[in-house]
């Protein structure tokens, strides 16, 4: 699993990346009340806003950590946005991307680097 400075996580299996927000992000957001996942078929560039997460505190964009095409969105989040709080780094995934450039994955932080990054925040 890899991480971004915007508190997203990515898990790459073959050329499909599963993306969500980290446990740290879910805790900071507070109770999540709404998630807008991207449409299947949409092409995104790394750094593009591709989903929205809304809590009672704030609405935030979620940025695509990698470039690629959206192949699946997590339908569970429509009716149960609280899954993001309950299980952020597994069941609370946002979308799956067919990755255009796997090298982008390698450039992201590993867990140790992300934990170190959190210490600086």
């Amino acid at each position: 699993m890899r991480f971004t400075k915007d508190h997203e996580w990515v898990e790459l299996e073959g050329d499909v990346a599963t993306i969500g927000v980290t446990a740290h992000a879910a805790e900071q957001l507070g109770d999540v009340v709404f998630v807008e996942t991207p449409e299947v078929g949409k092409t995104v560039k790394a750094g593009d806003a591709f989903a929205v997460v809304e809590s009672v505190k704030a609405a935030s964009d979620v940025y695509a950590p990698l470039s690629g095409e959206v192949v699946e969105a997590n339908a569970v989040l429509g009716d149960a946005p609280e899954t993001v709080n309950a299980d952020p780094e597994r069941g609370g995934w946002f979308a799956k991307l067919k990755v255009a450039n796997p090298a982008e994955y390698e450039a992201l932080m590993d867990r140790a680097a992300y934990e170190a990054f959190l210490q600086t925040q």
């Binding site: 109770d31 009340v33 709404f34 809304e54 009672v56 505190k57 704030a58 609405a59 609280e82």
Partner: protein, 524 residues
């Protein structure tokens, strides 16, 4: 000696609290259900003959199916007065909502707004009969232009965000007229009001965030890196939502203009600089002015807001209709984008804007005068700094260096380890008799508490407020967590489940199935 009388002092501990009435009442402050829950479906408060036929455009719907409460005038009056007793208002106490400028609404404004010549006007009256009102709008426009150092103003926008929309539509029209319609990006600092990116997105722009420096200002290097041939505008609030003046504002505007973009300034915090700084001198191209903030017209309740937009020379030709012109027969309104006004982008609303707010704002300006308005800004900033100074030893200011402007911003670092959150602290303030400050905004500060006292408050009132916060802060640090987690204890309603309200909002009242069987009104 006369010994018969009534006791005039409390003589038991029961008077000190922990008391529940028999029927759920709360003394003379009554709890109050929704007007629909008061019942009355089978009666009417006004004894009129039923209409001979229901209006055809109701699509066959009859009164019997609507379950409308048929309350009498005293029942209706009491319902709304009871609700008003459950409300909180600037007329009751300090209202420290940061970024909202909840200042006193002087009664002189109300007196002026109720003058028949203003209050009884209809927007479609012939202009020959509304010359006084048009003259007031013209004078208000003059004051707004003078105070901001800007050559033009669109009076019609009806609130701050509506003003932002007006300003960005002017910018869009100006770019399109110059063959620059390909500019699609609007730059917005991370500390901006949420309306800024929302407005830009609504107009069809893509929003890119500008980073913030460690001392709470726009990061010039980041701004410069992001300004390019695709940028249509930047939207910057000054003073910003951290309550800080953007020291590099002139450089920000120079860089923006050099890149061919326009500078939209969010004028929500104009109260901090009115009479002291002219945004036109800073290179601003468009700025809305919340009359319901800086110029003391009511926030909701007493009426809608108003958000006139001042415009630079470059944007003035694109201002929306209507506007005032002086002619041989007095003042007239230009209502359509044609002839000399052909570049106007359209209009923001059906008529001229919020006349009642124009009268109140103008009354405020004239009763203060130019020197009085300058003192407004000075006192608002002084009051905020007083609060910052009095609380900085027990709470943690987000930007301790130097003075703040009109609002004092604290983070939640001082609550760390207490088990008390910003939300808990805010709720406990209600028990102490104070409306909470703005919390969790701006987003760039963790657990933010944004306090804006305005110039309204006296030293005594500021001291009462600070003493309450100091007492709460001390209690939190002593570990009395229950006082916070359970708060508010003394409000008409206890802690509400905001998460449930957001996830499963109930947007309309519906009778519980089976509980309401509206009886037909007595027919002939």
């Amino acid at each position: 000696m006369q010994t018969i009388g009534r006791p005039t002092r409390p003589d038991s501990d029961a008077a000190a609290g922990g008391f529940a009435s028999l029927t759920g009442g709360r003394g003379l402050v009554q709890s109050e259900p929704l007007i629909f829950e008061l019942g009355g479906w089978n009666k009417t408060g006004v004894d009129l003959e039923p209409p001979a036929q229901d209006a055809a455009d109701l699509d066959g719907l009859t009164r019997d199916e609507l379950a409308l409460p048929g309350l009498s005038e005293p029942e209706t009056m009491r319902h709304y007065v009871r609700l008003s007793q459950l409300n909180h208002a600037i007329d009751l106490a300090l209202y420290p909502l940061g970024s909202c400028t909840m200042k006193h609404n002087p009664r002189l404004n109300e007196k002026a707004a109720r003058m028949a010549g203003f209050a009884d006007l209809h927007p479609l009256q012939p202009v020959s009969t509304t010359q006084g009102a048009l003259a007031l709008m013209d004078r208000l426009a003059h004051w707004l232009k003078t105070l901001t150092g800007m050559p033009a103003v669109a009076l019609s926008p009806k609130a701050g965000a509506h003003g932002e929309l007006c300003g960005l539509l002017c910018i869009k029209a100006a770019h399109e007229a110059a063959g620059q319609g390909h500019r699609k990006v609007v730059l917005v600092p991370t500390s901006a009001h949420g309306t800024n990116p929302a407005t830009a997105a609504f107009v069809g722009y893509t929003v890119t965030e500008i980073a913030q420096t460690a001392d709470g200002r726009v990061d010039l290097a980041d701004l410069e890196a992001k300004l390019g041939p695709d940028v249509a505008a930047i939207m910057v609030t000054n003073p910003n939502t951290c309550g800080l003046f953007e020291r590099d504002i002139v450089e920000i505007s120079r860089l923006t203009h050099a890149a061919g973009a326009y500078f939209y300034c969010d004028g929500a915090n104009f109260n901090a600089i009115v009479g002291r700084v002219k945004p036109g001198d800073l290179g601003v191209d468009a700025m809305h002015i919340n009359l319901h903030k800086t110029f003391s017209t009511p926030h909701g309740g007493g009426g809608p807001g108003a958000g006139p937009v001042v415009l630079s020379q470059a944007l003035a030709p694109f201002a929306p209709a209507p506007w005032l012109v002086s002619g041989p027969e007095g003042l007239a309104l230009v209502e359509e984008a044609r002839g000399e006004a052909a570049q106007a982008f359209g209009r923001m609303c059906a008529f001229q804007g919020q006349m009642g707010m124009f009268v109140r704002a103008y009354a405020y300006m004239r009763s203060h005068g130019a020197d009085g308005l300058r003192q407004v800004a000075e006192d608002a900033v002084l009051n905020a700094n007083y609060i910052k100074a009095r609380l900085s030893d027990v709470m943690s200011p987000a930007f301790p260096e130097g003075p703040c402007m009109h609002e004092a911003l604290f983070d939640d670092a001082w609550l760390e380890g207490t088990g008390v959150t910003t939300l808990d602290f805010a709720k406990a303030m209600i028990d102490e008799g104070f409306h909470p400050m703005t919390m969790y905004f701006p987003l760039v500060v963790h657990g933010a508490m944004l306090i804006e006292p305005t110039e309204t408050e006296s030293r005594r009132e500021l001291d009462r407020f600070c003493e309450a916060l100091r007492a709460l802060a001390a209690t939190a640090k002593l570990g009395e967590v229950e006082r916070f987690k359970g708060a508010p204890f003394l409000a008409p309603l206890r802690r509400l489940d905001e998460t449930l309200a957001a996830r499963k909002p109930k947007l309309a009242w519906r009778p519980e199935p089976g509980t309401v069987a509206p009886a037909p009104l007595a027919a002939e």
